[in-house]
Symmetry: T
Subunit: 76 residues, 12 copies
């Protein structure tokens, strides 16, 4: 999960849940969620994909919606 | 999950977990959690019931506790 | 999940489970399942990826198999 | 699950997944899904609630979306 | 889960699983299960809904069956 | 789950968890658990297999252990 | 899951959920569900047992109810 | 799960769910539940931790609540 | 879950997910997460352990990482 | 799970996942997996069925595929 | 799951769990795990994605980590 | 999960499942499993607790059995 370096070993992390969207791909929706999170949260460390879904229009995927959990270091 | 309108397709959503309580019903506990969330969060979009439980006193339900996940749009 | 527009708020949806296959990518297998569904089902609205797996030949992925749930509006 | 009467003991059942919507309550959304199913499927026997969610507008639940599995007898 | 009052902090609880039925609503079926449990078990403290299902007759819900876990204090 | 006959519609059921063992087969272990339960519990109605496992001796299954949930009607 | 032969690699599969019943055994209930499915569906390919349960009468299993998912090839 | 000795191979076990509490540690809460169970149940054989939680007061854990399943031999 | 006292029965709770780390024990990692949360959040009420993991160096656990959900009262 | 005899109480076990196949029955597929494991692994102690599935040809089960976890003692 | 050809119907498969990493995409991490497995294991047949996660540096995904289960034929 | 250092970013990891036992504590059983694994496996990196259980004798825990997944780097 979080990094194992000795200097970070006593850190506390918080995990938030986000949904990213993309017309291109599931990976791109994941990246969109993380890019948005990085605007307001420092020290993002890891993510985990929780769910991949999306909307369909005219028989085609119009966009992906990927739910991710994102972990970041809390200042001590 | 979130709405599929084209203008919102590239939005990012955040999901928070709340527990609403009510002496009346499970649905009412769900509404209480959402009403409270709407005081501090704008652009609430959807909810999902995660767990329904409650406390018993004198052999009767004294209140319901419903855990909900609530999704809302993050400003871009 | 389904769209929240007022005019569709009293719709009923059906959910079917499909497995799409592709030699190219997991996303492509998802699209293949949805493209096939759209030949016989009208009003497809959303999908959710349930499982991603595939077959291996000579030490390489020969194709992806993605199980998706697909939701569509039932005529009222 | 299905009924245990001797005369139905060798029946085969099919299970379909539906999403009912209602502005009123979660139970009402369940009933809406079953009412719609009964228009085209005979011999509905049981249901199971799989997920309860919904959409929020202006800080209030605008409608519930309840996913149910519905079982019915197949003609032998 | 159980109450946090200091005087009850070293209590042991037992959890039993019950299925309540009701023609009226899911909440009513939950209450029926708890009302029945309270006839033979003292010190009921909390419940958790495990499953909501029911039977259908003539295209309508004829009754709800709600499975609940109910926790109660064991005498020390 | 429980039977849908009108006369039993307002019954309350209790569910207990048992582990049956058999040297012969998984089904036989299930039957053993139910046969034992019927010695002390009246009105057994349904069962559900929760887990199938067992012990191995000298490279062969020496007995199956099947965990079942068993539901029965509580006297009203 | 589905077969890996090259000629079937771009097939799309549909998965349906059935409940088979049998007085004899769990395996027999599985076979009953598949036998019934094969009357109306061509190209059945695989099955997966989702749940094993059944009804009890007079302290004995009166029949097994096995829920299976069955996958079949959709014509392209 | 239960012991594999030949003489116990045809035993039937019952599983009950308990919640133990302790101000000291999660393991201590587990032991408390088992100690209480042993007052009224003979032949306890195994336990499994189902959930670890607890209450917080003044920013510190005031006690742990550990839910355990406990299996014991039924007299034949 | 949350306390059942009448005066708190209509409170709304929020649940956050944290990861605590400790070189000493799993319980200590849980405490670390809660201690950190109490620096910025008032009215912490309960926690639940979601996952216990950690890192290994030179064949020994160098620290535990425990993911906890922590619930606290929202001001009304 | 593993045996509780005092002399084996400080053993370490390894768990491997296998898929056995059989044209006859689910139990037979389980046995096939264990028989194969016993050719190369000593001290097999217990198994657990993880999944039961299989292939269909001409509307009939042509073989069962049962996934089992098998535990065995590691030499200390 | 495994192939259904008659000649392979009595094969036994083993399933191992691997984590592949890639800076490019989730699919690429899956392929990396399988490519590595094929160096030491013959007769790889299928894979299943168990978890998709990864690390973040400077607000961007620095690499994906995909956990896969990989099945292969054991020599009889 | 695994470490995020650039030099290890393209590593592949294998995950094995072990059961450690201890008369002392759950943490000690976890450590026992890892200590045993480190005798034959190099480059152990992380662990995850999958299940905590144990045996009871004379109304007391005689030993804990903790199932852990352990990840280690495969040589490239």
């Amino acid at each position: 999960m979080a990094k194992a370096n000795n200097d970070t070993a006593d850190h506390i992390y918080k995990v938030v849940e986000l949904v990213g969207t993309s017309k291109k791909s599931a990976d791109d929706a994941t990246q969109a969620a993380i890019a948005r999170a990085s605007k307001t949260l420092k020290h993002l460390r890891w993510f985990e994909v929780v769910q991949t879904r999306g909307h369909i229009e005219n028989g085609k995927i119009c966009h992906y919606q990927v739910t991710v959990k994102v972990g970041f270091t809390l200042d001590s």
